[in-house]
């Protein structure tokens, strides 16, 4: 009988254990792709196909999974049980049939032993069904690594299967030993009991026990069902062993062996075989059940059914940031009365500190057309021509980044304006009274650095008048006389 559902479960369990360390996004993509491939081929995706697919992708020679390792361990345990059962079966039967010639082999003892065997077999199955594992410590010792939860839950079933296999082996070697003994030895069976029972009662018990083979094959082996005469004839007593023995023919003692053989086969071997088959079926059922309820299976089904969502986040240029180190620093504002407002800077009003009596204002960029820019350039050039130290103050908005348009404008200015003319860029902040933020200033510094060296610089003049004694003045709300104020 194949153990494929078991193997499927163990392989699946091992695979999902390994998958636990994988990122969920990867697992989703992988399994969804498998499901889509299956759909293309007109197949329903299931655990078996999925495992085959994974194994196929890993290629030949991929490492044996933990599932296979568990199976191999149980195969070894099974072999051990089978071997042990065989040895014990042989020895037990030799013990039961121990006959030195003076004493009968008591059928009652054999009956009791068979009953014990049957009880043990039933107990093994019951134990596996309940899940009680008194031998767990042994397995823990044998196991090299910790079992997964799934393997632990299968353990009682696997153990029952191994125990029944051992039982089959025990029963089979037992019956073979019996037949061998019958051939090579002259065995004398009889029955005896301390209890006050008659031969008819004993016969009734034996008939009941022989019912399975008497009913199924009455003609096959009539000798295997002892008759009342044999039962009456072969009773022996502890005191009168010799007396009873003399009254019947010696060959009658041997007539019991077909019964003993059939008793052993029917009540030891066959139950073990049936329970072994049952344990295999139960194991398969349990394996199927565990596979269906496996948390990894729920997750796998979800991954196969749910489309993968890719947000297009593969592009990575986070390290590719521009160099924001500034090599040049702020320069003092040159003495110039030429003020150019770029792209609406200075609207609605320029700070008073920038505008003097002789200041000439020009506007370019922004809403102005390129032609108006050219006019402003030419006008400024005319003004600069007469100046001994030609310089122009260009007012910009600190929060708007310098663009190519300003760069073009200044490049034209460089050509048009007299040699030695200098440009001071003055970025104004939103609140024209305050200085711009450092990061806003630095973009203008870098811009000036990119232009021809010595031509442009950046200035951030103090734009509002500040009372030098402000620190000494009381704070708003200060009441004289309530607190003495320290002078710095």
């Amino acid at each position: 009988m194949t153990d494929s559902p078991l193997r499927l479960l163990l392989d699946f369990d091992a695979r999902s254990q390994r998958d636990q360390d994988q990122p969920p996004a990867f697992l989703h993509r992988r399994d969804r792709k498998f499901a889509l491939t299956c759909a293309e081929q007109g197949q329903a995706p299931n655990a078996r196909r999925w495992l085959e697919h994974m194994a196929h992708l890993s290629g030949p020679g991929s490492k044996a999974g933990a599932g296979q390792k568990t199976l191999r361990r149980w195969r070894r345990i099974n072999t051990g049980f089978a071997f042990g059962g065989a040895v014990f079966g042989c020895l037990t039967m030799l013990g039961l049939l121990f006959y030195e010639g003076g004493q009968r082999i008591n059928i009652t003892v054999i009956l009791a032993f068979v009953a014990l065997q049957l009880l043990l077999a039933l107990f093994t199955t019951a134990q596996s069904l309940v899940g009680w594992q008194p031998w767990r410590w042994l397995l823990r010792r044998l196991a090299s690594e910790r079992n997964s939860e799934t393997t632990s839950r299968l353990q009682p079933m696997l153990m029952a299967r191994a125990a029944h296999l051992g039982g089959i082996s025990f029963a089979a070697t037992g019956v073979l030993t019996l037949l061998l003994m019958v051939v090579v030895q002259d065995l004398a069976f009889g029955w005896s009991t301390t209890l006050d029972t008659g031969a008819s009662g004993y016969h009734q018990l034996l008939t009941a026990l022989a019912a399975p083979w008497a009913a199924l094959w009455p003609e096959l082996w009539p000798a295997a069902v002892p008759d009342l005469a044999l039962v009456e004839a072969t009773r022996f007593f502890r005191a009168g062993a010799g007396a009873g023995a003399d009254t019947i023919a010696p060959d009658r003692w041997g007539h019991w062996w077909p019964f003993v053989t059939m008793l052993w086969i029917s009540w030891v071997l066959v139950p073990r075989l049936l329970l072994f088959l049952a344990s295999i079926l139960l194991l398969r059922h349990k394996a199927r059940q565990l596979l269906t309820n496996h948390p990894g299976m729920h997750a796998l089904l979800y991954r196969m059914e749910t489309p993968t969502l890719d947000t297009g986040n593969h592009h990575n240029d986070a390290a590719d940031l521009p160099d924001t180190d500034t090599l040049i620093s702020l320069q003092p504002l040159p003495d110039s009365n030429l003020l150019l407002c770029w792209a609406g800077a200075g609207d609605p009003a320029l700070p008073q500190t920038l505008v003097g009596e002789h200041t000439q204002l020009f506007r370019a960029g922004g809403r102005a057309s390129l032609a108006e820019d050219q006019t402003a350039l030419a006008d400024i050039a005319n003004q600069l021509a007469a100046s001994p130290e030609p310089a122009v103050v260009v007012i910009t908005r600190s929060w708007e980044p310098p663009t190519g348009e300003l760069e073009d404008f200044l490049a034209s200015a460089r050509e048009l304006w007299p040699t030695g003319a200098r440009v001071a860029l003055v970025p104004l902040s939103l609140d024209s009274e305050r200085e711009p933020e450092p990061h806003q200033l630095s973009q203008w510094l870098r811009f000036a650095d990119r232009l021809d060296p010595g031509f442009a610089s950046v200035s951030a003049p103090r734009l509002h008048w500040r009372d030098p004694h402000a620190d000494l003045l009381p704070e708003p709300g200060f009441e004289p006389g309530t607190e003495s104020r320290k002078l710095p």
Partner: protein
């Protein structure tokens, strides 16, 4: 079948175009800097489902010479009907011209049929300088939407709204760094309104994104549950030979084990955080919370963390009642119900009392040094004997998850994890409290969980996340 819509994110330099793309494509690896010209080439970010693209966002450089471009266009156009063709001609003619690289990169996707998403900074005043750009965009004849993104703290969005309304079909406010997830979806739906053909794919995309978000919450709960299971049951073990054990004093050994145990627990918490961040596609988060140290006020084992995240005695008693009742119910089962549920009641009371009296004491694990056996001696430290430790880990994990799940991918500031100032877990339902306490108790004894218990635990953690979310929302 119609092709998936493409949206080119365009605008003046340094107005947060890349931030908008980073947030909508959930990519924290897009270069964002307060420096014009950070984006030099256009870059496409497709959103696809099972490899089938639903829409594509294209990040572009900003306009550098819009007036010159407009002048060229006006000089080459005869009537309004040839505007789009003229723009195309401009791009064709200026490919490879260094002066117009940015404009060509920006206009190329529009010529290919992309929709326009024009981004402006609403925290600075409206500037007429932008009119040339907007006119060029209008010339392309493509469906268009304007986004008012606020980079600074001031708000000039009203004036922007009025100006943009003259040029664009739809005007929306969207803060790329702070907008909550629902706004992302709303924005995507707005993209769909630009053209009838685009509505279906965008609607589909928003559905998928919502599902993904729900699933991520559940996955986060499972990741946190796993970490809690590990952290509660972790034991540091060391086997010594006879010579080694003779040469090491018990105190030294205890100290070594303790330090290793602490280190392991901190590392496990760290790996939990990284897992959550990766789940939300945050690969590059920097933390303000300094490298974990015992004396650090935000350390996993610091008194500060304990105060911030531990639960009250009353909470422990209600959680402990359920946890104890389960053990007592086993007694009822054994007596086949003859105890009439007294087992559950007594067990519950014992559990509650135990949690009440011992729950808020810092009971760190003790060192256990085993007897000498076969020349070897095993010393162990842990697992933690204090379920408050579990609540500290849970609180910190849920807090971190919340910050990550709310964080937009355009956000580049440090992740500042400040401890909460309220016992938010008090809002958790009793069933969830008990499920969490049961797992803590079980793992403290290093007993494994079965699938059903684990599932219950994950659900309870999800409930805690919802409680935290609720508390955060109603805090201010």
């Amino acid at each position: 079948m119609t092709a998936a819509p493409v949206f080119a994110v365009v605008g003046h330099p340094n107005k947060g175009k890349s931030s908008v793309v980073a947030t909508l494509s959930q990519n924290d690896a897009i270069a964002i800097a307060l420096e014009p010209g950070t984006t030099r080439q256009r870059q496409a970010y497709p959103l696809s489902v099972d490899g089938h693209t639903l829409y594509t966002l294209v990040d572009t450089p900003g306009f550098q010479r819009p007036r010159r471009v407009l002048e060229w266009l006006q000089a080459h156009s005869v009537s309004a009907s040839d505007h789009a063709q003229t723009v195309q001609a401009f791009v064709t003619q200026h490919q490879g011209d260094g002066r117009f690289t940015d404009e060509c990169e920006l206009l190329a996707p529009l010529i290919d049929g992309a929709g326009i998403i024009y981004v402006v900074d609403g925290s600075v005043p409206y500037s007429a300088e932008h009119e040339a750009e907007m006119t060029i965009l209008r010339w392309t004849g493509r469906p268009s939407l304007a986004l008012i993104n606020s980079i600074g703290s001031d708000d000039y969005s009203d004036t922007w709204q009025a100006a943009l309304g003259q040029f664009f079909q739809v005007v929306r406010k969207f803060d790329a760094v702070r907008a909550p997830f629902e706004q992302h979806l709303g924005l995507l739906r707005a993209f769909g309104q630009l053209e009838p053909d685009w509505e279906a794919p965008l609607e589909q995309a928003t559905d998928f994104l919502s599902d993904q978000r729900l699933k991520r919450r559940n996955q986060s709960a499972a990741i946190i549950a796993r970490a809690l299971e590990d952290l509660m049951a972790y034991q540091e073990k060391r086997t010594l030979t006879q010579n080694q054990s003779a040469g090491t004093s018990d105190d030294t050994l205890a100290e070594q084990l303790r330090q290793r145990w602490y280190r392991h627990q901190r590392q496990r918490e760290q790996s939990l955080r990284i897992d959550i961040e990766h789940l939300y596609q945050h690969q590059r988060i920097q933390r303000q919370e300094a490298e974990l140290e015992w004396h650090n006020e935000h350390d996993l084992f610091s008194e500060d963390s304990r105060r911030a995240w531990s639960v009250s005695k009353r909470y422990l008693a209600t959680a402990g009642f359920g946890a104890g009742a389960v053990g007592g119910a086993g007694l009822d089962a054994l007596t086949l119900g003859h105890s009439l549920g007294a087992g559950a009641l007594v067990g519950g009371l014992i559990g509650a009392a135990g949690s009440y009296f011992y729950g808020d004491r810092l009971m760190l694990p003790a060192v256990h040094i085993g007897a000498l056996q076969d020349g070897l001696q095993t010393a162990t430290f842990g697992p933690v004997q204090d379920s408050q430790f579990g609540y500290v880990v849970l609180g910190r994990a849920v807090d971190h998850w919340w910050h990550i799940s709310q964080r937009n991918h355009a956000g580049r500031e440090l992740l500042d994890l400040e401890p909460a100032d309220h016992h938010w877990l008090e809002q958790l339902d009793r069933g969830s409290r008990q499920a969490i306490q049961q797992v803590f108790d079980k793992r403290r004894k290093r007993r494994p969980l079965d699938d059903r218990q684990r599932q219950k635990f994950i659900t309870a953690i999800e409930q805690s996340m919802a409680a935290y979310d609720h508390w955060r929302l109603n805090r201010t």
